[in-house]
């Protein structure tokens, strides 16, 4: 990837910058535009409404109109707020949620950084999101913001534990922290995906399938909680806290929180699909292989990867408009009394299987 760009541009530094910025502009920003509209459309159709209809055909330009509106809005900073932190917080959240994409393999040609500590990096860098939320909520000097921030931090810290344990299980099973290596172990057809027991054969695979399904459900629930989506959105529960940690934000700063939330949704979906659903591997083999066109394969891989990611994003949206919000105590019960014990049990059993 870098060599390819370096040959085109001719300068190392510019090539690195382009390689770093390419996923953002090529893919994630357009995705965010579409996802915001999709969320409104999904919610509307689930509630037997039509959703935005006026701007463009069936409202497809609604998000662009919204962004134009948000750019024009006055940037209000509350007079009692801590100005420096108030201004910095959206940038920290925005950067850290986009930094996650650096270690995600989009195809075997297009990966930001194929580092050996990829998964570990992703878990660590998402900690900055918590810091940003806390910073913004404290700096707003608003009791609803602070409550929202506190709830959000408590929730994310609690749900990081089941996530980390399931990730550890997958690391034990695959023997690698590198998402690209994990993906490459799930090649060929869809029954080689980790959710169906990976590339193991015979009795091991039969034992692994229910464990992996349970692990998939656990990590999906806890990732949902980590991105503060309903049913885990007590951090911005509208009926209690106005809108949580971003109550005081207006204009583009608010839009940055919004975009970061959608980027986070996609990031967790892509991580789950790389861990469990075969990553960029096609479920039925490649068109490029059967036609003998080698350059088609990376494009197909990119298609499959984003396809899986977007399916999971839509699943998150459907869940949001289906389930009611959990109470704080129920939230902690789900995490500490159910998810963590089950994930530890899965970790132990998978550990025994890999040793045997």
């Amino acid at each position: 990837m870098y060599e390819f760009l370096e040959n085109i541009v001719g300068n190392q530094i510019i090539a690195y910058f382009i390689a770093a910025a390419l996923p953002l502009f090529l893919f994630i920003l357009p995705y965010a535009l579409i996802a915001v509209l999709a969320e409104r459309k999904v919610s509307a159709h689930m509630q037997d409404r039509l959703g935005p209809m006026r701007v463009g055909f069936h409202g497809i330009l609604q998000t662009i109109a919204d962004i134009l509106k948000l750019i024009q809005k006055e940037d209000i900073i509350p007079s009692a707020a801590d100005k420096k932190l108030f201004v910095t917080a959206p940038y920290i959240i925005f950067m850290s949620s986009f930094a996650v994409f650096a270690a995600i393999p989009f195809s075997n040609f297009f990966i930001g950084s194929s580092i050996d500590v990829g998964l570990f990096y992703i878990i660590a860098i998402s900690g900055f999101v918590v810091a940003g939320i806390l910073m913004g909520s404290w700096a707003s000097n608003n009791k609803y913001s602070l409550l929202g921030g506190m709830r959000s931090v408590a929730q994310i810290i609690s749900y990081e534990i089941p996530t980390a344990i399931v990730v550890l299980t997958m690391v034990m099973l695959t023997g690698s922290l590198n998402l690209e290596t994990i993906t490459n172990q799930q090649t060929a057809f869809f029954w080689n995906w980790n959710i169906f027991g990976g590339a193991a054969t015979g009795i091991t695979k039969i034992v692994l399938i229910p464990l992996m399904l349970a692990a998939f459900i656990i990590i999906f629930i806890s990732m949902l909680a980590e991105v503060n989506r309903t049913p885990f959105d007590i951090a911005e529960a509208e009926s209690e806290l106005v809108s949580g940690f971003h109550t005081e934000y207006t204009g583009m700063r608010f839009a940055m929180f919004f975009l970061a939330e959608y980027a986070n949704m996609l990031a967790v979906s892509l991580i789950i699909s790389a861990l469990f659903l075969g990553g960029y591997n096609s479920p039925f083999g490649y068109l490029g292989n059967s036609l003998g066109v080698a350059w088609l394969i990376p494009i197909e891989q990119m298609f499959w990867f984003t396809f899986k990611g977007i399916i999971l994003v839509i699943l998150q949206m459907v869940l949001r408009w289906t389930l009611p919000r959990l109470r704080v105590d129920q939230l902690m019960t789900v995490c500490w009394k159910y998810l963590i014990p089950y994930s530890i049990a899965i970790l132990l059993i998978v550990g025994f299987i890999t040793v045997l």
Binding site: I13, L85, D116, I123, G127, F128, A131, L134, M150, E160
Partner: protein
């Protein structure tokens, strides 16, 4: 000047500037957030030295854990509940003296030591090597640390437990 030099100076500047803010600011929250930036800069330097695992652990432990918990304690003390935290300048002369002596000793050591310089090949991956070392050569330390953490966990659980009346 290659890209690595630019990145090095960037991270070095982040580390030094934010560390200066940590010491000099009177607002305890600003100080805590600057500390977060300092750790981030240091982890960037680790990554440049080829210690990628260490860099991530640095972020994971300090940013994810200690700082968040520190903020939990700090957040309730300022602004919202209006409790004044005493921040002032005390004992200026002893501090300058101590700092001067310490700095002089450090500079003397750094300049007078005959550093052992070796052209080292940075290993491409450190994680698996570290894992092997932890479970073979340093397994005793590893297990002792695990027991220490377990004791801390049990202690936390027993403190948090509500007494039955």
């Amino acid at each position: 000047m290659g890209i690595y030099d630019i990145i090095f100076y960037l991270f070095a500047a982040i580390t030094i500037v934010s560390a200066a803010i940590v010491v000099n600011t009177k607002n305890i929250i600003h100080s805590a957030f600057s500390l977060l930036l300092t750790f981030f800069g240091v982890s960037g330097l680790y990554a440049l030295l080829g210690a990628d695992f260490l860099a991530i652990v640095q972020i994971m432990v300090y940013v994810g854990g200690i700082l968040i918990l520190l903020l939990f304690g700090v957040m309730l003390t300022n602004k919202i509940t209006n409790v004044d935290i005493k921040t002032g300048v005390l004992n200026v002369i002893p501090a300058i003296l101590g700092l001067g002596i310490f700095g002089a000793v450090l500079i003397f050591i750094v300049t007078s030591t005959n550093w052992h310089v070796e052209k080292l090949v940075i290993p491409k991956t450190t994680t698996s090597m570290l894992g092997n070392l932890l479970l073979t050569d340093y397994v005793l330390v590893f297990e002792l640390l695990a027991i220490l953490l377990l004791i801390a966990l049990i202690g936390a659980a027993s403190i948090a437990r509500r007494d039955k009346e």
